[in-house]
Structure formats: C-alpha cells, structure tokens
Amino acid sequence: MDNLENVLEAILFLAGDAVEVKEMAEKLGVSKEEILKAVEKLLQKYGGGSGIQILSFNGKLQFSSNAAYAPQIEVVLNPIKERELSRAMLEVAAIIAYKQPITRLEIEEIRGVNSEYVIMMLLRHNLIQVVGRKNTVGKPLLYATTDKFLKRFQLSSLEDLPDFDEVMERIKVLAPKEPPRDLFAREEQISEKEEIPDFLKGEENIEMIN
C-alpha cells in the first residue's frame, strides 16, 4: 500500500480516539513495520509547530491538538478544560503507576492515610482502572493506570515513567521484610521468582473482570 500514510491519517482523524497499530496492520493487510514507516512520514508532516500532533503510546496512535495553541483553541471553541491533579491525586497516581497492579490497602500503607476518595477521583478521571482482584483475604480490587494516564503524562509506555529502572530497583529494596501475616497471601508464593519485577508479579494473580 503506497499511500499508507494517507490512509492512516484519515483513519486517525475519523477515529478521534486511539487506534491500535496491531489492529490497523491486521485489518489493512500490511506489516507492523510498514505502518511504523508510514507513521515516520506522518511525524514529519505533523512535526514542529504543527497544530495537530501524533501521540504514540501503548502500541496505539492518536491525533491530538498541539498544547502550544491551547489559549487560541479555548478562545474559539471553548472546550472543557482539564484541571491539574491535586497533590494527593498525583501521589496516588504515582504509587499506582510504579507498583501496579496494587490494592487500596497497599496504597494506604505507603501513604499512611486513607486514600479511598482520591482513588475514586482518579477512577472518575479515567486515569486509573480496576484490572482484577487480588487473590488474598477479602479479594480486594487491583488498580492500574490507563492509556489516558500515559497520554496525560506524555509517556509512550510505563517504562517511560521517570527513572523507571532505578525506581523499580528501589521499590524491591524497600519492600517490607517482615514475613507476611497471612500465610495464604500470594506475595509469599511468588517471592521465589526474583527476576520478575514487582509490578508484573501481580499479573498471575489477577482474576480478570470482563
């Protein structure tokens, strides 16, 4: 397909929302490499001070307006403006980002304060989502960040989080050293597999919620 960049441009424009690269490749019958090549061309077209920008995150592509022109956009179109997150929301979002999937109790242990309201607000803003339940007493909900979180913080993936590798190491060192109070807790069962980073460990334990 020699006009693939034009096709992608039209698709991303109409979709508004993010579209998966894999899905586009499959449905258009082209390779992922071809798509990425076409995206390269689009990145040139929409580079610099362009009013439209291409975002790439979590294997998806999406058009957005250039933040530089927000004042003029707001004058003409009067869109609903997002507000910056409060300190507490940002704190909880950071904990979830680096330690996902994580339960409310685990978040509260780190912060030392009740975080129910903050979690609810983050859920309402679609910055976090429920991804399952932890296989421990009470089967608490597990939270993880969303694509919207990545977009808001200009990350293409979770590995793009500030100081990702160092932080993952630090988190491991800071993990509680006392034996789990609940012998049936999952943490114990997976602690042998050292190489799996904490934030991925949970994945095996997630009972997916549709």
Binding site: F13, F63, I73, E91, V113, I171, K177
Partner: protein, 248 residues
C-alpha cells in the same frame, strides 16, 4: 523574614500536610538530617508538639496522625529499655520499619513531583466521527435451499388461503384465546427474530381474534419478551424478540 520573626513557635498548619508521614518528612527536611537518623534527633519531639493542634483536624485525619505518634513513642521507649534477646528475629524492628516506610513515601513524593512536570492539560482530542466504530451489518452466507424453502412455504400458505376463501365458511364460536395467541407469537418470533406487527393480524380474522392477538402482544411486551419499534407515524411496527428471552 516573617517566618524568622515568629521564632521557634512558628508551625506550618497541621491540615496542610497530606498525612503523618508527610509531616515527618517535612520535619526531617527542616532538621537537615537523613531519614535513618530520625530516632537520634529531635524530630519525634517536634512531631509530638504538632499534636497539640490535633483538635483542628477531623476525627479520621486526627487518628492517622495519632497512630504514628503512638508508634514513635513506642520506638522511643523501646530504645530506653535494655535490649532483650530477640524472640522473633525475623520480625522487622519498628524503627527500621518506620524508616523504610518514610523512605518509600519520600520516593513516591519525589516521583509525583516529576510527574507533575510531565503533566499536560492543554492537549485536546477529537470526538470520533459518527461513522467511526459503527458496526457494519453483513448477511451471512445464503443458501439457495433456504430461498426455495421459503418460497415453497409461501406458495402453500397462499394456496391454503385461497381454498379457505372458496369453501363456505361456517360461523362458529370464536376459538381463539389469548394464551394460544401468545404461544403463536412466541414460536413465530423465536423462529424469525423480527416480524412486522401486521403479520399477526390476518385480514380475515374475526374481531375477537384480533383482540386476542392484540392482548397477547401486550402481554409479551409486558413480559419483555419482545421489543417494539415504529419508525414513522402509521408506519409498520417492527416486533423483535429480545436477545436472551426464554424461548418456549
């Protein structure tokens, strides 16, 4: 300057801290010490001093602050006692635990500040076009046999009707009951999923039969067995079986 003028008694208001750990980190920073030196410093004392304002907080926040205060006091008193042989050596020392907790919380506080710098609230996204994501309905494979079958059945139906018209009709007591009609509509819709309202009203039907049919339809709508859709006033009314309705 103003801060200096207030002297030693100056205190940041308790309610401006996210929680007890936030206050401790602030005091550690003010004291210019490492987190690990917290228990050989004045920080515990300063923390307890802050508890004088605890009445300004609501119950829940207050209890969070007081819980940490209790822990700090416990650690302090333990350090005054002669060290006992540890019965549970695997149990984390409360002081160590507190230090670890503070370090972890500090890490995430710093990370959230870094995230703040990345946060953008000035980008806007397009609303999807109406045409996008609407499912495209395609017809499944068609078999000539089905076409022939439908046509043949139709011819038989037409033929029967014709015969009925020719034969002298006897007027007899109306045999139609609502239950029978419900059964008939149920089985027809179970087979065809969607039918026209008028298909159920034969033009040769007696008034009583029409009423029975209509009552049956009302009953089925009430039971949520089917949905009714009319696109235009006086237009055809489309009856559709609800997905998942019990067929029987």
């Amino acid at each position: 300057m103003e801060k200096a003028a207030l002297g030693k008694n100056y205190r940041v208001h308790l309610s401006s801290f996210e929680g007890p750990l936030d206050l401790l980190l602030y005091l550690i920073k003010e004291a210019k010490i490492d987190i690990k030196d917290i228990f050989v410093s004045e920080v515990t004392k300063q923390y307890l001093k802050y508890m004088e304002d605890i009445g300004d907080l609501d119950m829940e926040k207050a209890s969070e602050f007081l819980e940490i205060a209790a822990t700090l006091l416990e650690i302090k008193s333990n350090s005054l006692l002669p060290k006992l042989e540890e019965i549970f050596p695997e149990q984390e020392d409360p002081a160590q635990k507190m230090i670890r907790q503070l370090e972890e919380y500090k890490l995430f506080k710093e990370l959230s500040e870094k995230l703040r710098e990345l946060e953008t609230v000035d980008r806007y996204y397009r609303v999807a076009d109406d045409s996008a994501f609407a499912p495209k309905v395609v017809l499944k494979d068609m078999r000539l046999d089905d076409l022939l079958d439908a046509f043949s059945r139709l011819l038989v139906k037409v033929e029967r009707k014709k015969r009925d018209m020719e034969e002298p009709r006897e007027i007899y007591k109306d045999p139609f009951t609502v239950d029978e009609k419900i059964e008939f509509i149920r089985s027809s819709l179970a087979e065809r999923r969607t039918m026209s309202f008028f298909e159920f009203f034969d033009e040769n039907a007696t008034k009583d039969e029409l009423i029975a049919t209509f009552q049956a339809l009302l009953e089925l709508i009430k039971e949520q067995f089917l949905t009714v859709c009319q696109k235009a006033i006086f237009g055809d009314i489309i009856l559709t079986i609800r997905e998942g309705s019990a067929i029987g």
